[in-house]
Symmetry: C2
Subunit: 439 residues, 2 copies
């Protein structure tokens, strides 16, 4: 195999063969192919794309590069949820314990935040003691025991994806539907779930600007998932404004606990976070075969959440993975950030926009996320929305509260948050967060 | 500077700034930027191109990365010739001594063969003892003394181009007009000549398939050359069939000596090699200011060649650079390859095609060229054309003679050569090799 000829072939827009794709991926993982030839191929793929068959071959090669979790001995339906990433996107923290209350196992492998989007792993790690790095054997044991386990990507599963994703990240070759599809589906197939719901985010705070591009990715995810016998549904949800009221790792855990714990009634029950979470829960129960429709699943999930059983399961999961439940049971014990401030309305009117991208970037300046993979996270820092799009605000009334460990960071954060706000005289139409279901 | 953002910018088709281009090139040369980010940028450039200003900035950065030869103290016109590469393309061996007979200095820095095209350096090195790796100081001294010196690229001149070209070669990012232009012109500007003739090859045996793409490259070469005050003319010449009768390093030197030495009258005087060589010579004399037209230069060059003075100068140059002139003065002394064979006509008729790409690839199997940069060259191996396109051939009459050091290589070479031949019943129209002059 001549790597230059393979790169040239893709550069000319031709489809690569199984042998060529396997040669590139497996040689790279073995260290026999240099980074620079792989990055050149990735950039050629960025421009000329991968067809369905090539995407399937990439997915297969990623899976075959590592172990594959087998949960068949548990004899229960299994389901996972994957989000393409957004701001304030914390639904996994509720969905994993919630769905496992229905005798459906939830093996969930999540990622870290990068850029303006948050990551489930960082949120979990804000709970003191919570361990997200478990070997595959312990992951399987936890699922056997509790029906749910949430961990980070391990070296055992899809190591080829891990190595190639790291290279894509530093060579501006992330944004390609075929490569994204292979990366996501290979991980999901390797982790052992038999079905999956894809939450494909659409809008400024996501990687996909419009419904058209989101639909293309969703279609690809479904096609490749089914090629590998993974039951799948995609839900397109709006990410033009942050989801829920909190942005920042511990603040998001807190918001979820307030939704899960029936003793706490702080958040308005009918907010957008609940809408998206229950819809995804309904879709998960449906795709796992527990209900005959998404709607039936939504109703069952709402009842389960209100019953407090999901909260109880969340506590069990936290304890099972080494987390200190006292912080969950008494949210006020968590250390508060040294500094706080607020962003107020410059004029009275209806909030027509709270831009998710700007809010996400603002949260990164506080240390909620990373500009680079090695950046340190400030778990307690973050932003609380006091208003949501559609709300009326008086001049000088607060829109955001900001928490952080330095006045400089807060000042920079406020600047960016100010740019996120649009206020109009007329009440804007606020659409549902769930835009479309593709299955 | 964030390299990922710079790659992304070019990926989106935007023009890079001076600071961004300098950052990428100079950091790479210093070893501060990894290969994989540079190769990703190069592939993005392959797809989205470089505009004139970016090409100029690449050229400038390449030049500034090393020394620049100054020949102004010689007080004579100076001219070089650069070919984009072909099969049997040996004109430099005649042009360098020929033009220096007109009191015009010729500082010539050439390259090696790679892929199906031959390289002037390999041809020169087939002369026992000939040294092509000279320090810049010796290069200048030779030009002062003889008016001509032919060497290879040194580490002193345009090291950035050298490092980036090596990366382009292994990442399938060679074929881009902007990158090719910057690479060629920077070397020519750094080597100290004040004027240049570009021989832009067109056809199967070149890197440019048609007149349109060759004209674009030629236009770019002229534009950038003039931006740096280098007088320039481009000549588009046909490379659909090999130039002259010989392919292979020593065989090509021999063909040139037979043209230069008036005592030898072996080659037909009016062949295509002579046509192209004299035309380029005329263009060199014209662009150097020695004549008022290319045509005048052609006539003067033809006379000089016939006079034997060019041959005398060639011998002087060989001796001056350590070569053993006895092999030149008595061509029969050169060791012959162990094996030889011939490729014959399968039917009678007119030869309508002897494909240059196939002939070039066939010569590589004999060891005349390299598949990889570290491959060893067999200087005495090669192919002699017994017929040229337009010639009539009887069935079983030889078309090619093949020379090599193993029967296997010769067998493989013959197979490829067979595919290069097309014979037709009607006499094909044979056009001139010189297609167009752009200035």
């Amino acid at each position: 195999m001549n790597p230059v000829e393979i790169i040239k072939k893709k550069r000319h827009g031709k489809a690569l063969s199984k042998e060529e794709i396997n040669y590139f991926i497996h040689s790279y993982v073995k260290g026999e192919l240099p980074d620079y030839q792989v990055s050149a191929l990735l950039m050629a793929i960025y421009f000329n794309g991968l067809n369905d068959e090539e995407t399937r071959l990439f997915t297969r090669a990623y899976i075959d590069s590592g172990k594959r979790v087998d949960l068949s001995h548990i004899h229960k339906p299994s389901v996972d949820k994957h989000s393409t990433g957004g701001v304030g996107d914390k639904t996994s923290l509720i969905l994993a314990p919630l769905i496992s209350c229905f005798d459906v196992v939830v093996p969930m492998i999540s990622g870290r935040g990068l850029g303006h989007t948050g990551g489930t792993l960082d949120k979990l790690e804000s709970i003191p003691g919570f361990r997200v790095h478990l070997p595959v054997e312990e992951f399987v044991k936890n699922i056997e025991k509790l029906g749910v386990c949430m961990i980070g990507q391990t070296d055992d599963l899809t190591p080829a994806d891990k190595k190639i994703y790291a290279l894509r990240d530093v060579t501006a070759t992330v944004e390609n539907t075929g490569l994204i599809t292979a990366s996501i589906t290979s991980k999901k197939i390797a982790e052992g779930a038999k079905s999956i719901v894809y939450d494909v985010k659409v809008g400024t705070g996501s990687t996909l600007p419009d419904i058209k591009s989101a639909s293309i990715l969703a279609g690809n995810l479904l096609k490749i998932s089914r090629d590998f016998s993974l039951g799948a549904i995609a839900v397109l949800t709006d990410m033009n404004s942050p989801l829920g009221y909190a942005i920042g790792n511990w603040l998001e855990v807190k918001e979820c606990v307030e939704l899960m714990n029936p003793a706490l009634k702080k958040s308005p029950f009918s907010n957008d976070l609940l809408e998206v979470t229950l819809f995804l829960a309904g879709a998960m129960l449906f795709v796992a075969g527990r209900t005959n429709s998404i709607e039936e699943g939504i109703i069952m999930s709402g009842k389960k959440l209100a019953s407090g059983k999901c909260y109880k399961k969340f506590i069990e999961m936290v304890v099972n993975q080494g987390g200190d439940k006292t912080f969950i049971e008494d949210l006020s014990q968590y250390p508060s950030p040294k500094f706080n401030d607020k962003v107020t309305a410059e004029k009275s009117g209806f909030i027509s926009k709270l831009d998710a991208l700007k809010a996400g970037l603002a949260s990164v300046t506080l240390g909620c996320g990373r500009k680079h993979m090695h950046d340190k996270i400030d778990y307690s820092a973050g932003i609380i929305l006091d208003k949501k799009p559609g709300d009326y605000v008086n001049k000088n009334e607060p829109i955001y509260f900001v928490y952080g460990d330095s006045a400089e960071k807060i000042s920079l954060c406020k600047q960016i948050l100010n740019e996120s706000i649009e206020i109009s005289e007329n009440k804007p139409e606020i659409k549902n967060k769930v835009l479309e279901v593709i299955n």
